[in-house]
Symmetry: C2
Subunit: 231 residues, 2 copies
Amino acid sequence: MSQAFRLKQAIEDAVIAGEFLPGDRLDEASLAERFGVSRTPIREALLQLGSEGFIDVRPRRGAIVSVPTPTRLFEMFETMAEIESACGRLAARRLTPENDAAMSAAHRACAVAAQAGDSEQYYADNRIFHEAIYRASCNGFLADQALALHKRLSAYRRIQLRARNRLLQSLQEHAGVLEAIRAGDEQLAATRLHDHVLAQGERFSDMVLGLAERQRTAAAGRAAAKSRAAE
Amino acid sequence: MSQAFRLKQAIEDAVIAGEFLPGDRLDEASLAERFGVSRTPIREALLQLGSEGFIDVRPRRGAIVSVPTPTRLFEMFETMAEIESACGRLAARRLTPENDAAMSAAHRACAVAAQAGDSEQYYADNRIFHEAIYRASCNGFLADQALALHKRLSAYRRIQLRARNRLLQSLQEHAGVLEAIRAGDEQLAATRLHDHVLAQGERFSDMVLGLAERQRTAAAGRAAAKSRAAE
DNA sequence: TATTGTCTTATTGCATACAATTCATATATT
DNA sequence: AATATATGAATTGTATGCAATAAGACAATA
């Protein structure tokens, strides 16, 4: 299991890093060769990632990086918004100096990245900031759940942070969240985090829906039977 | 994977049904013999259940049904409370006649079981009632997450539903929740569900802490080195 | 030209075998 | 007597092989 655990992390990291994009096939033989092991530990790693929702393992049909429908994706962002706002509410209620320091430091790092317009760096620091909020809830289990979902959504978050002024807007929202938490205003912290996350989801949903529309239009030329078989 | 999926369900069901209690060992060979398969699909099922949090698969040390610490357990109930209240809020906002009917029917079934003092039946109907609320959120992903956590906590919920007057109290709380959702009062629905779930968690926590205290006292006689090695 | 059916090929699912590690028991030592 | 060590048994981790299924290619027919 030691090997399988390493592999699970490695594959998960590759997905989060964007090396495998949603829809990409993850066939056991290639991965086995790439990591220099047999198919067995690869299979075990893939099955675990499947249980965590990162990938889709369809019986006898192999594993692919999950491709949620636009609806599902919106549901995931909405759920993320609810969980994050719960974290924010608890953080406002229970804030400790250590957690305050961690969040503030992450926020400053985000500011530097945003001012530099470095979206890759902001992407990384953004995750640290959000994780600091999760931890500040003083509920380790909730924090784990939040982080797991955050990771699952990372592929979609990354894309929409590319727009430069989105970085600065995101940063301002972070500042508002931080202010509310430090003021101990549970309700405000919850609302601001909820909106911050859901705004991302909505923006992304629009984008995906646009993309889906274009794909649909393009696919309209192809056979109806083919498209029916795909689903 | 077909076989492994069956086995995963079967083992999960056995855990939820209480056949395997928290702490019980799940060794691959016995399970393989029991289900008439080789160890491979058993391992695959166990690893998946591990990812879902039902069991603990410690490298090279086998799998056991998870035994959360009292702190962790409280965190899990608190998280459940937050997720359920989110479901309740959304349900109040989006209630459809179909979902209303499903919740009401489940509530009536709970009432019958509670009046009869049948805690096993109540346990089953209670799950249907809560699942109906999850579905009523009109967010399939959130509902899936809620149900997964609900299942994980089932072993602990079952125990504390044994007390007869707890059944009637639980039923009354259900009535209040249902009333708030049907009235479209998001805030009230969220609060009532939060309290309903957290009350369970607190009651259970007290029980577990009492239990842990007794165990700790009993264990005090044993060697300190042994207890150090266990962790 | 489009569609359907068959065949080939590639990939997954499971079983078995072996290697590596942990756990338990027994023995030796202080 | 208690602790430490060593040995053996049991269990897990990985590799390999074979069987079963699905994807793709190709040909035949409408």
